[in-house]
Symmetry: D2
Subunit: 338 residues, 4 copies
């Protein structure tokens, strides 16, 4: 940790801080400059409370040297982590697509969706039973009834199922009916939820919050992994920016960045990342090209009757075309698509 | 609702949509333009599923005419809503300051903090027992133990207490020990939490999410109010932007905007909104000047030993000076400060 | 154009506005709703001054129906525009890479750079002579001397040259020595510069401003095209967001969006779009995958001695490897790379 | 400067960098940590090319210790700089308001505007002759004809005049007719323009770019001051964020931050900073409260006939009311308003 003092700081101010560092067991360093005093602390910075130094009146800035996440980092474990949802492996050589409707609406819709996405090459089925919606007047999901439909269709089509969990109290139900938990963007920093999921063993797809820095995403994953559940799949799904022609700005820079800093699998959600049906396929191709391990895509048998997110859902035909074209990009990326 | 069709849309496409509008009971309007067909729907737009129309292949864009929130709007209720925390009224003529440490650390710290902020003019005491922290390695709060300390100090100093609730399972405990719930920025769209708080009667301070539009904040408030709890206080606390010299960008524009659109009280948190101790007082003055109904400020008896947010906490002396100066701005805004 | 009146607006207020619309030659439409009056104006909205209506006291909001750009839109011209820099065609079947150092430093450096990028497959040479730099204490470019070096190396290697123009007064010099003008992100809304470039015939590579919406970029292109120069190549190069792990957030959503709305070629600059050397290649691949017509890449014979942007420059070896891998993605996108 | 090496860096890598630092005349420091090597450079960092070190393959991150601006900083000059436009002093005890229409439209409009704003207490007249407009189809200003009208009205009403300059070639004309140059947000990083203005003596109002960090604004000011013109007034006018209910997000945090880091006067433009007429007055009050030295406000005798920005322009009556109320906040801020 590097601590930069204010111009007005005295040598005595510096000594107070050097003492504090010494007390924690780290090695203090005194670096008197021409315009400023700089202080260093060598050792495990996690032993220090960064904010503590920032609140000393004579401190101008505290700059950490080490990344604040540890277990999810490549420095801790440089091998790729493989996470399995059912028998489908993420993070290995195969490029995996998860697909299905935004929300479970009824059995018929889920059956049609599952049949369509499976025949086009999707390996995992998605469908939301608990829907976080911006407006209280929008459809909020079928709840446990939706979980049951999802589970039944999942078994029928031999596709493992992924569904969102929004609340600690629902974890048991979701664990019973689904093969993986999805944590949505709005809950990426619901730390209680993360902590509880860390105590389970089923995998977690952790979506980046729409105002979360990549570092925040890695720290959210650290919450889960540090509780004992190593099965985390990171998901880039777009961030909020000033651009309004798309629903979000898909930050694909994050994909190779995350792959270089963390050993966890990384997938992309181009449906939410664009919010525009015509942009889903090109951004799916781009995701494969920049090194993602897979995709999660919204497909609805009849988007114009969808109870949520119809605007960004692909039709079964559009999805089938996309998957056919996707294979070329997956091969170009030296990955396989079964 | 205005529905703009693509250039390629035919009259038949338009008729399909006009039929759909008619089915919902709204009045459809056909507006053939020179370059595009535009369709209108007159009546309560909340009966329509906006996304549904956006997912029609021939629709380019759907533009709602009415705001999506209702109960919290001035159109619904043009009188100012007064929300009382204990016996302290927000939204009336008095400008109210809530103050205290970021986190409850121990009895002594809370006692010192309460004594300091009360004597300087704060009316409500704050202190977090459940702390959402970006890193799992940071101090997470004392939990129920912290609630008990807060409650005891609150009674001792005759100041009602506000504390954050992060999880449905904790609502009962918080309700027992505190006089108002605080929903933090990270939970502004934790809709399950909002729905449950809507079924209680104690007031809710709802902080704006750091990537939430003002409209999202009003819709989050609508979740609470539509469940039956009218006692919501909105809180601007800064949004995330590209600027890095401050922790957040305090969006004071939101204050007069919210006051013009909603009848709910609006307060400002300049501690999180700046993240920099020296900026807290000037932004507190600015908040009073642009029409806020109050403030929530972090004050710690010894910021450099604070377990969280020390960098932005005022010392008791700084807080006392700020409160003294604040009074001039409150009077200039034609409000009172007792 | 759709004009939504305030709830308090009277029928008389509406009539004033309907009269104004009629005066402009557009067809006014009166749409009395339940909660609000809505007014429509049918015809060429460019005849109306949108702001004018927004400044009527009884108007709540003005919503344009048509896009504000025209000549650059697919609605105006649905065929792909081919723009030639020298004899290199952008926007056709071939995927083109422009490469070279950020700044022209001297003859030797440019010769080495040109040799390296040409042998790896780049078709156009880049190199800045006028460098806009955030700090007055940074290297500002060699000026006309740099243009001469660029021109000589360009002829020697039979590669057309592209260089940035920052000021109207430099247009003649740049036109004399280079084959295309580059307008940098900071000048995307230097409308005087755009207008002058519209009166030349050499092509213009127009980089998106780092706070420019896609619509702003298209309007900036409209400035050039409406002055008579149809040879505009749009360039996505990253926008400014809250994310700090990369220099900019490369908005690849913009690529398929621009291609769907405009007939102009679109290229991507992953060097500035990431600011991190290791991310350049993956984002170049992603650019090809999502439909870009080409790339512009910073390559320096010795990045650690570069006078600007060394951190994001590829070495000749890294560039050669990238170009070899890129070909697979270009073919997957049904494009060719000679 | 602090240079953090990658985990994989060897002692030899460190030595290469230590040598480079020594060559520049700074004092190198070797700080071997447990997980990483950190290198320091003590002395005037402006002698180092920061990017140079960032482009070494074994360097992970370079952290400057000193701010990159110098002449505009309080560390260089801790006294408040007073900048005079005509005989009106900015940065002293008086709080100054500049007012007038967005664009000069004709003599009558300017006369009415000047009469109105002068009688309400404005000290300086504004009016644009060269208008940078997003669309080529919008009104672009009257050019030199507009300057002449502005100048004549300015003399008639004994109010110094401020107008925007968008291009080096126009500097002479603007200098002839106006008392201060205004550099608009889109030209904040038009470094050629800044450099030329640095060689004049008339004051420059430098508006913050809508994607410019506060540090970028200070560096833009440094361009002017380092050329010899110390008369720079900084202007906060809103930044671009995800929020869409206002045209920009007025970043008032920047006001006390700028005042603490720089000795230059700081004013605020709440007209552009909100884009909404009803928010101008509250944000003007907030600006005075948080320490601004003045305001620049758009006032039009008849906003609904304005050729630009009518939506955010105050009427003369609204302006007079605002100025009357403003005085209370100016006094509360211990400033005067004559």
């Amino acid at each position: 940790m590097i601590i930069i003092l204010k111009q007005s700081a005295s040598k005595k101010d510096a000594e107070t801080i050097l003492d504090e560092i010494e007390k924690t067991g780290l090695k203090p360093l005194f670096l008197p400059g021409i315009e400023r005093i700089v202080i260093g602390a060598i050792g495990d910075e996690r032993l220090l409370n960064e904010k503590q130094f920032e609140s000393f009146p004579q401190v101008q800035e505290v700059k950490p040297v080490l990344s604040p996440y540890k277990l999810v980092s490549r420095e801790f474990n440089n091998a790729r982590t493989i996470v399995k949802i059912g028998d489908v492996a993420f993070g290995g050589d195969e490029f995996i697509t998860i697909a299905g409707p935004c929300a479970v609406e009824n059995s018929l819709q889920m059956n049609k969706a599952a049949a369509a996405v499976k025949s086009a090459g999707a390996k995992v089925l998605r469908g939301g039973a608990f829907k976080p919606r911006t407006s209280p007047y929008s459809f909020q999901g079928l709840g446990v009834e939706g979980l049951k439909i999802l589970s039944q269709v999942s078994r029928e089509f031999h596709m493992p199922a992924v569904t969102e969990v929004v609340e600690v109290a629902d974890i048991d139900a979701v664990e019973q009916y689904a093969d993986a938990f999805q944590v949505g963007a709005r809950n990426m920093q619901n730390f209680r939820l993360l902590t509880e999921l860390g105590q389970r063993r089923k995998p977690v797809i952790l979506k980046r919050g729409f105002a979360a820095k990549v570092e925040d995403l890695l720290l959210a994953a650290e919450y889960i992994v540090s509780e004992g559940n190593p099965n985390v799949i990171l998901c880039e799904r777009g961030i909020r920016t000033f651009e309004t022609c798309t629903r979000n700005t898909l930050d694909l820079n994050a994909v190779p960045y995350l792959k270089s800093r963390s050993h966890l699998p990384v997938i992309v959600d181009p449906s939410h990342g664009t919010g525009v049906r015509d942009l889903v396929a090109p951004m799916a191709f781009a995701s494969a090209a920049c090194g993602a391990d897979g995709l999660i895509i919204e497909v609805h048998p009849d988007p114009k009757s969808a109870l949520s997110d119809g605007m960004q859902s692909l039709t079964p035909e559009q999805f089938a075309t996309m998957m056919k074209d996707l294979k070329r990009f997956v091969l170009a990326a030296n990955r396989v698509m079964a």
